[in-house]
Point group: C2
Chain length 210, copies 2
């Protein structure tokens, strides 16, 4: 059983290099060199870079989908914060995917429909969650508001880390990137939050707002 | 005065190719070939790809900055819609910049501080605009709300087109991408809008919501 372990090592190293150096700049030669492996041996396991990316995309789907689906169990703001936090952690782990998405889809166009399906699934789950929060009386929002909120939250989960790169660096951020991202996403709900849940939002605000 | 025209043609063709094919995939050889020009001649005008990108970035700054600054004159929702529309058009014209930003900053790191400065300028102008709308009684928003709103609007102007790529295609969109993007950004304000301005928001909603 040496083969599966080698495959895993290749995938893990590829993920690391793609995250660090960008999908465009990392060739299979580079991956083989990083592993101290001949290119021939790497090609024996993965014939092309496309196969590696497709496998990593599948792992991302497997990692991301449960985070999305967990949205269904959210009935309070603190659950939502945790759920968003875990979602951002999954995205951060595979951050080359959304960050380098344009290059990825240009090079490997057959992944486009899967990427869109993942967004669609995220939208459906997030919409159900917002509707649930409205039903539970945590937020006051019309069906149209719920639709728009879900779009805003999914947009933020998908693109937040790309955007952060474009904002001036903060002096010694006290919290991890995923926690701050979750806080940001949560603030999208703030104008709709009613009753006691407002207290939790104020607690988070005091904690995260510099 | 042949040189300036050639420089312009090179920049225009480069912009077109970067937008169409992505910054990573377009070399100076490709640009020269597209122009029917020798690589030597192209290199006479622009010694490196970096110089071309830097010039295009400067043109983007010149195109984008007035759009941002126009936010200052916004005192009503329809002005805001127009201002956002023009902003998205500028971004769309130079869409390789925000779309391929990660590759761009990795290859040409000296542009990072300029990209961050542009975002910072956008944030300041958008915050002033939101504060102005609050003062004019168009929205009801605390200083903290204004801060958050500005961040949300700037995030959407910066990343919207990248995100759209990830959502399933719509059946025959009746409106241009920039108009829909402006509508989306405007909905971020909707929970804060008060009084008669709500009518304009409902008018837009009826127009753009499928």
């Amino acid at each position: 059983m040496v083969a599966p372990k080698t495959r895993d090592r290749i995938l893990e190293t590829s993920l690391h290099l793609f995250n660090q150096e960008g999908l465009a700049g990392v060739s299979t030669h580079r991956i083989a060199a990083e592993l101290g492996m001949s290119t021939g041996n790497l090609h024996y396991h993965f014939r092309t870079k496309e196969l590696i990316v497709t496998w990593l995309f599948r792992r991302f789907e497997e990692r991301f989908a449960p985070c999305i689906d967990a949205h269904a169990n959210v009935t309070a703001l603190d659950d939502l914060w945790l759920s968003l936090h875990l979602t951002f952690e999954a995205i951060d782990e595979y951050r080359f995917i959304y960050r380098d998405i344009d290059y990825l889809l240009k090079e490997f166009p057959e992944l486009e429909s899967r990427a869109q399906a993942l967004t669609a699934r995220n939208l459906v789950a997030t919409k159900a969650m917002c509707a649930g929060l409205a039903e539970a009386g945590v937020i006051a929002a019309s069906p149209e508001d719920v639709e728009m909120l879900a779009l805003q939250i999914v947009f933020s989960t998908t693109c937040w880390f790309s955007f952060k790169r474009l904002t001036p660096p903060q002096k010694s951020p006290a919290y991890g990137a995923s926690a701050l991202a979750a806080y940001y996403a949560l603030t999208l709900l703030s104008p709709y939050v009613v009753g006691e849940s407002k207290d939790y939002l104020n607690y988070l605000r005091a904690k995260y707002l510099r």
